[in-house]
């Protein structure tokens, strides 16, 4: 599904290397988690994959289903099947949530040469999906993320994921700012989307999210590299002992 090879990335503005050779391969239907201390480069990885400005790839590559991602515009990456659930979903005054979602879905369909979805079909589909995430019609009508609580914003991210049905989902600290109930709701939303044809990369500081979204593989990232890879038990080890042991062990 996703294959990242020897990825080196620096900030455009300053001469600071953030990623120093990341290698990662995620198969179809797999759920991988990346954990790591602050500043290890986890979020940068998600931004670079989604095509955000401000980063320069100095070496390496990343491909989605064999297509080179890094040459594409952000919207092309989305149409190719990539989805980033933002750590801080953006508020957009004046743009209605429904309009936004329908425009996005139809833009992706158009880019893939598929037929656009009618307003009626869209309405029916979104109502069903919103219901399972406990997003009421009032939230759908409001401008994108405006006046949403932290939990509502994250649920809205998962709703977008459910509507757009991407192949590769990157979740950037989706657990941040969530209480226990909200985390359960969001995780259930993600788990409902788990599918043999869909892969996930879950970026998190804490192991607790991984109790709900159980990963197949756990990677530990530090100083711009993946320094250790293991099964879900690796997350528990971090939870108990912190990152220090692993960092020492590798050093």
């Amino acid at each position: 599904m996703l294959e990242i090879k020897n990825l080196h990335v620096k900030l455009e503005e300053e001469d600071k290397q953030i990623l120093k050779g990341v290698d990662l391969k995620i198969g179809a239907g797999e759920v991988h988690a990346i954990m790591g201390p602050n500043g290890s480069g986890k979020s940068t990885l998600s931004y670079v994959l989604s095509g955000r400005d401000g980063y320069e790839v100095t070496e390496g590559s990343a491909s989605l289903l064999g297509e080179e991602l890094l040459d594409m515009e952000p919207e092309e990456r989305a149409a190719a099947g990539l989805f980033l659930a933002f750590q801080y979903p953006v508020e957009i005054p004046g743009v209605g949530n429904m309009t936004f979602l329908r425009t996005a879905l139809n833009a992706q369909r158009k880019a893939r040469g598929e037929e656009e979805m009618s307003a009626a079909d869209f309405l029916k589909m979104i109502r069903e999906k919103a219901k399972t995430l406990k997003i009421d019609s009032e939230m759908l009508k409001r401008p994108v993320n405006m006046g949403f609580s932290g939990g509502e914003k994250k649920r809205n991210e998962i709703l977008q994921m459910a509507v757009l049905e991407p192949k590769m989902c990157v979740l950037d600290e989706t657990d941040s700012g969530l209480d226990v109930d909200a985390m359960k709701l969001v995780s259930d939303g993600v788990n409902a989307l788990r599918d043999a044809g869909r892969s996930f990369l879950v970026i998190t500081h804490y192991q607790r999210l991984l109790n709900h979204i159980v990963p197949d593989v756990v990677h530990i990232m530090a100083d711009g590299r993946i320094i250790k890879t293991g099964g879900k038990e690796l997350a528990l080890e971090v939870e108990e002992n912190g990152y220090a042991d692993i960092l020492n062990e590798v050093a």
Partner: protein
């Protein structure tokens, strides 16, 4: 006090080229008074403070700058709205192209006809509200209009109008210089909607005086034609009675010179005045919104919402004032003027003013100027929306607050379609 020589010369030259319409009946006195006002004030000059951001030359010159006729490929705005059309071609009423005025369910007379009959209400409006609006700031081009207007309509609503009155301004001569003057009286408890659209002429000077009586409501939606070369100066003078409502929205796309002044006096308690505008400008576009709202009664509400999208060197101007008189307690005043600059070459000049003499008043104002929010743009793109489309969404979202001021949802939707089409065309161009 004598006028500066330059101003005196320019005023004399312009006035010499104009002739007061003959047979103006009762309006003759009003016209002569207005002419005296113009002679005293002189026409606007570059050094005038009120014209600091807009050069008046194109609006005061003896001859108008010729404006090419624009072939509009769109269905005109309001086509879907059930209305009574009154058509003016280069500033001259065209009965053949117009609907039967009687269908609107209000009294409608042509200015020239009205002045021959003793229409009391019109005598109390024509040039009267304009003259009141000359203080504290002079508006010589409006007085010039009162003196020399060649056509216009007098509309009086005594109940709820059956249909909106739609003033359609067609432009067929490259050198036309049109001066239209409309008077509107909405009697107590009555309701009227007036729509205006079209380029009107190469140069267009228009005054609309509106008297909104106690408990009456007046709605106004206007679209200034896409003809880029036309020049326009317009004034709305409105006086509002107790518990009355006045709402005016203007959409402007294109135009090398547009100055829209709106002067509103809230003279009765609990009145509401909303003035809004959305404009899109490209290249040598110049658009000026000048608004003056006077609160002279208690518990009134006024809103000014002006949004401008500028690109490719376009210029936008906003001069907006809220004046709260000593007795106008419990005033609720709001003013916002914002520009979205799509590149580094465009300019927005804003002069928001509050002058408050009452102590129990709520007034807020804000003015901003900025580029498209890159973070939001990326968010939209990351969901698969191509950059141009994402940018359009952001632009329309920016204009939304102004468009929401249109009460009629069908018209608001139509306006939105026009704005989207403009953006679409610019992408191709």
């Amino acid at each position: 006090m004598a006028l500066p020589q330059v101003k005196q010369d320019a005023t004399d030259a312009r006035l010499a080229a104009l002739t007061m319409p003959e047979g103006s009946g009762w309006a003759t006195a009003a016209r002569e008074d207005a002419l005296a006002r113009v002679q005293t004030m002189g026409l606007p000059g570059r050094r005038d403070e009120y014209w600091k951001f807009t050069r008046p030359d194109l609006l005061t010159s003896v001859e108008p700058k010729p404006a090419a006729i624009f072939a509009n490929d769109e269905t005109p705005l309001f086509s879907e709205i059930d209305r009574v059309r009154l058509v003016f071609v280069d500033g001259v009423f065209d009965a053949a192209q117009s609907d039967d005025p009687a269908l609107a369910g209000v009294e409608i007379d042509r200015l020239a006809d009205a002045t021959q009959t003793d229409i009391h209400w019109a005598r109390d409006v024509y040039g009267v509200l304009e003259a009141r609006g000359q203080k504290p700031v002079e508006r010589p081009l409006a007085a010039l209009n009162t003196a020399f207007a060649t056509d216009g309509v007098m509309i009086r609503a005594t109940g709820k109008a059956k249909l909106p009155v739609s003033l359609v301004y067609l432009h067929q001569s490259e050198t036309s210089d049109a001066i239209l003057h409309h008077c509107i009286k909405v009697e107590p408890g009555a309701e009227l909607t007036v729509l205006e659209n079209g380029p009107a002429a190469a140069r267009f000077n228009k005054v609309m005086e509106v008297e909104v009586a106690d408990g009456a409501a007046f709605h106004h939606v206007r679209a200034q034609g896409r003809d880029h070369e036309r020049q326009a100066v317009t004034h709305i003078f409105a006086r509002l009675g107790t518990e009355s409502t006045f709402k005016s929205f203007t959409m402007t796309s294109n135009g090398i010179m547009t100055r829209n002044e709106c002067i509103v006096e809230l003279t009765g308690d609990d009145a509401i005045a909303h003035v809004a505008g959305a404009c899109l400008g490209d290249g040598d576009f110049h658009h000026d919104d000048t608004v003056f709202i006077t609160h002279d009664a208690q518990n009134c509400e006024s809103r000014q919402v002006f949004k401008k999208v500028l690109r490719n060197g376009a210029t936008g101007v906003f001069q907006g004032k809220i004046l709260v008189q000593p007795d106008a307690q419990k005033t609720d005043g709001y003013q916002i003027s914002q520009s979205l600059l799509l590149d580094d070459d465009s300019n927005f000049y804003a002069k928001p003013e509050l002058e408050i003499y009452a102590d129990d008043v709520q007034c807020s104002h804000g003015s901003t100027s900025g580029a498209i929010d890159e973070t939001a743009l990326f968010y939209l793109r990351s969901r698969g929306i191509p950059e141009p489309k994402a940018q359009d969404l952001m632009v329309l979202a920016f204009l939304a607050e102004a468009i929401e001021e249109i009460d009629n949802k069908a018209i608001a939707e139509d306006v939105l379609v026009r704005l989207s089409a403009w953006l679409e065309r610019r992408r191709k161009g």
